[in-house]
């Protein structure tokens, strides 16, 4: 008797659970939540959580934004796998808008919803070439790697890559860049040195698509980097693990020069963790790399309307002003003339419209691996 009653209540509970499961996606409140996935450093986490999302919610009180954060993109491969699998199986990936380096990889695999000015009006203000390079990703901010130097010890910073290499050899132990697998600022220096020995056509090919046949041409650049081992900080071929460590080494005066992200440097300067005598400059021939960061809306997202609304708002002058002047100090992707002139003063002297692009991720991954084989500790 008791057994039967238990079975009955279990069956009832199961039916109730099913009912909830069926009705939940249709309910109003759930569809108004936009699931945002961020794969980046903590400064980007702050940009979304402390600046963009509160302002978006103030403009659109009906919407709620839920952020999933992955520090340094440690789980990019898994997240890519999850979104790929969700698309293949026609399931909800649980993500509506992605901010991360793997957005262009998803774009190349045809997994992104393609933006067009009809449904995303503000995209009309974005540089066409930058938009095209996103392969379906929506560019929303930009940043560049710059050369930071201690102005107390370095009167005139190097202007070209050759000058920089000469300076490094003349000042042993005073330059550093982080291991490329730990952060983009060190990676940019490695790519720039490798690019020095490549033709323009080869560089373009490595940016555009996977090109394993060109990778053997990196040898000369990697040899140059290996020869720097005894001149960089540490002097036995050891390098800082990530972007933050390079910034710390500069701030504490351990090194006089290093490569840094423009936005991380500007934020540190504003926060006071970077002394005012550390300044930044860009080198030329070739320049350190930079580029846009892209947002992506997966094809399989169940709330494309909300994701589109948020992406369109991020491209509005109001939101771009927040990106430029807030804690992030990023570069805007819409013309400076549309922005608050006070906020854009900082960009005098840095060409933010023509940033030299980094390799596509497949080649970048191989370059990181090639560097680890050829340079540290050798």
């Amino acid at each position: 008797m008791l057994k039967k009653r238990i079975m009955q209540s279990l069956a009832l509970a199961a039916i109730a659970a099913l009912g909830v499961g069926v009705s939940a996606p249709a309910s109003h409140a759930v569809s108004q939540t936009i699931q945002v996935y961020i794969s980046a450093d903590t400064n980007i986490q702050d940009l979304w959580n402390k600046t963009l999302i509160p302002a978006f919610k103030a403009a659109y009180p009906d919407y709620d934004v839920n952020v999933t954060f992955d520090l340094h993109g440690t789980h990019d491969a898994q997240e890519t796998a999850k979104i790929t699998a969700a698309s293949v199986l026609h399931k909800n990936p649980g993500v509506d808008l992605i901010d991360g380096g793997f957005v262009t990889t998803l774009g190349a695999a045809g997994l992104l919803y393609h933006p067009n000015p009809g449904l995303l009006p503000n995209i009309a203000n974005v540089n066409k070439a930058v938009l095209k390079a996103g392969l379906g990703g929506i560019p929303y901010r930009a940043s560049s790697v710059l050369l930071a130097y201690n102005s107390k010890n370095v009167a005139t910073p190097p202007a070209t890559l050759d000058d920089l290499l000469t300076w490094i050899k003349a000042h042993p132990g005073k330059f550093t860049y982080n291991a490329p697998n730990g952060g983009g600022s060190g990676y940019s220096f490695v790519q720039t040195v490798v690019d020095k020995y490549l033709s323009d056509a080869d560089r373009t090919a490595l940016v555009a698509g996977a090109a394993p046949s060109l990778e053997s041409k990196w040898a000369q650049g990697l040899e140059t980097l290996r020869q720097l081992n005894k001149f960089t900080y540490g002097q036995n071929g050891t390098y800082p693990a990530n972007n933050a460590e390079t910034l710390t080494d500069l701030a504490t005066g351990l090194v006089d020069m290093g490569t840094v992200w423009s936005d991380q440097f500007a934020s540190a300067l504003k926060a006071g963790t970077m002394p005012a005598n550390i300044k930044v400059t860009q080198i030329s021939n070739p320049s350190l790399t930079g580029g846009a960061s892209y947002l992506g809306i997966p094809n399989s997202s169940t709330n494309k309307v909300g994701a589109r609304l948020l992406a369109n708002w991020v491209l509005s002058p109001a939101a771009q002003n927040l990106i430029v002047s807030g804690t992030l100090n990023g570069f805007p992707v819409i013309p400076l003339s549309m922005l608050d002139p006070k906020a854009t003063v900082a960009f005098t002297g840095v060409d933010i419209q023509h940033l030299r692009a980094g390799y596509i991720s497949a080649n970048a991954n191989d370059l990181k691996s090639a560097w680890a084989s050829a340079v540290p500790g050798k």
């Binding site: 993109g73 440690t74 990019d76 491969a77 890519t80 796998a81 790929t84 699998a85 293949v88 695999a109 291991a179 490329p180 697998n181 900080y233 540490g234 071929g237 050891t238 390098y239 693990a241 080494d249 504490t252 005066g253 351990l254 991720s361 497949a362 991954n365 191989d366 990181k368 691996s369 680890a372 084989s373 340079v375 540290p376 500790g377 050798k378």
Partner: protein
């Protein structure tokens, strides 16, 4: 001596009267067993097939995304990914560093834990208890925090270098060297070993030590003939757990070690994430798995031996 140990073990750990194997006992053991089979065993099998080049079924998605994927060329698969790893100039250096750091750290940990445990057992008193309690503190400090603390302590502008520079001595920068990995590993692994070994030594009856003293046995003799043999099981458990833990460590070698060579835990993560070569990272994981199995066999053998001595099997 052996007969004494047997007697002690027999009296202390014999199963209570009336306990016999039953179905309900097996049912109690079933959930963890199922958990291990489903959530550990099956993924390992899938991983093994992927490392051998089976790229369909559960391995389909990862094969679409990963770079340098080798697809099986025989019915049983292919060893191409294994050959990749063995021919990679980084792998042998990484493996050597991993094994050397693991063995040196384990020896240090066990030696230091033995020292504290014997101090508490033979001399005892309030001071010894305070010492043991203090030595457990690192157990409650997250590894990330302690790794960063050690980094700032031994770094280029760290405490040690600053202090010695005031004395006119150039203290070496230890961060980014294998020495720093050993320091970090010993710091994190020591508390568990102290807990294991000191409680093992506390369980040794006083009568044995006093009898040996009455017969005129010097302290080294008491240590080598009574304390260490009777605490052998906890010592071996502590050593194998410490070694397996250090073998697979990630945070300590990432923060404190050199970029290259690095320990396999970090290299596996580099291959899986930064270089996007999941197959090769799995192959390395199987090498770590093999090394850990070697240590695990030692542990199981010791368990069986002590169970046999105490008459449980």
């Amino acid at each position: 001596m052996i007969s004494v140990r047997r007697k002690v073990n027999r009296e202390s750990s014999r199963a209570p009267h009336g306990a016999r194997p039953s179905l309900s006992g097996f049912a109690l053991a079933l959930p963890p067993l199922l958990l291990v089979v489903v959530f550990v065993g099956i993924p390992i099998l899938i991983g093994l097939t992927f490392s051998l080049g089976f790229t369909q079924g559960p391995n389909r998605v990862i094969s679409l995304i990963g770079q340098q994927i080798h697809i099986k060329s025989h019915w049983w698969g292919t060893f191409a990914a294994y050959s990749d790893v063995l021919h990679d100039s980084r792998f042998l250096g990484d493996l050597a560093l991993t094994l050397v750091v693991t063995s040196i750290s384990t020896v240090f940990v066990i030696a230091m834990a033995l020292g504290i445990a014997m101090y508490q057992r033979l001399i005892g008193g309030k001071k010894a208890s305070v010492l043991v309690t203090l030595s457990i503190v690192p157990l409650f400090v997250p590894v990330v925090i302690s790794a960063w603390a050690i980094h700032t302590f031994y770094g280029g502008d760290g405490f040690m270098r600053t202090l010695f520079s005031h004395l006119g001595i150039n203290f070496p920068t230890l961060t980014s060297t294998p020495v720093a990995i050993v320091i970090g590993s010993v710091w994190t692994a020591l508390p568990f070993s102290i807990l294991m070994i000191s409680s093992g030594m506390q369980a040794i009856p006083n009568a044995l030590i006093e009898a040996a003293r009455d017969c005129g046995a010097p302290t080294p003799k008491i240590i080598s003939n009574i304390l260490i043999p009777l605490a052998r099981t906890p010592i071996i458990i502590a050593a194998s757990f410490t070694a397996i833990g250090i073998l697979g460590s990630y945070t300590i070698p990432l923060f404190l070690g050199p970029n290259q060579p690095t320990m396999l835990g970090v290299e596996i993560s580099n291959f899986f994430g930064a270089y996007n070569r999941p197959q090769q990272s799995l192959v390395m994981a199987f090498f770590v798995f093999l090394a850990a199995s070697g240590i695990a066999i030692l542990y199981v053998w010791q368990n069986i031996k002590s169970a046999r001595e105490s008459g449980r099997i």
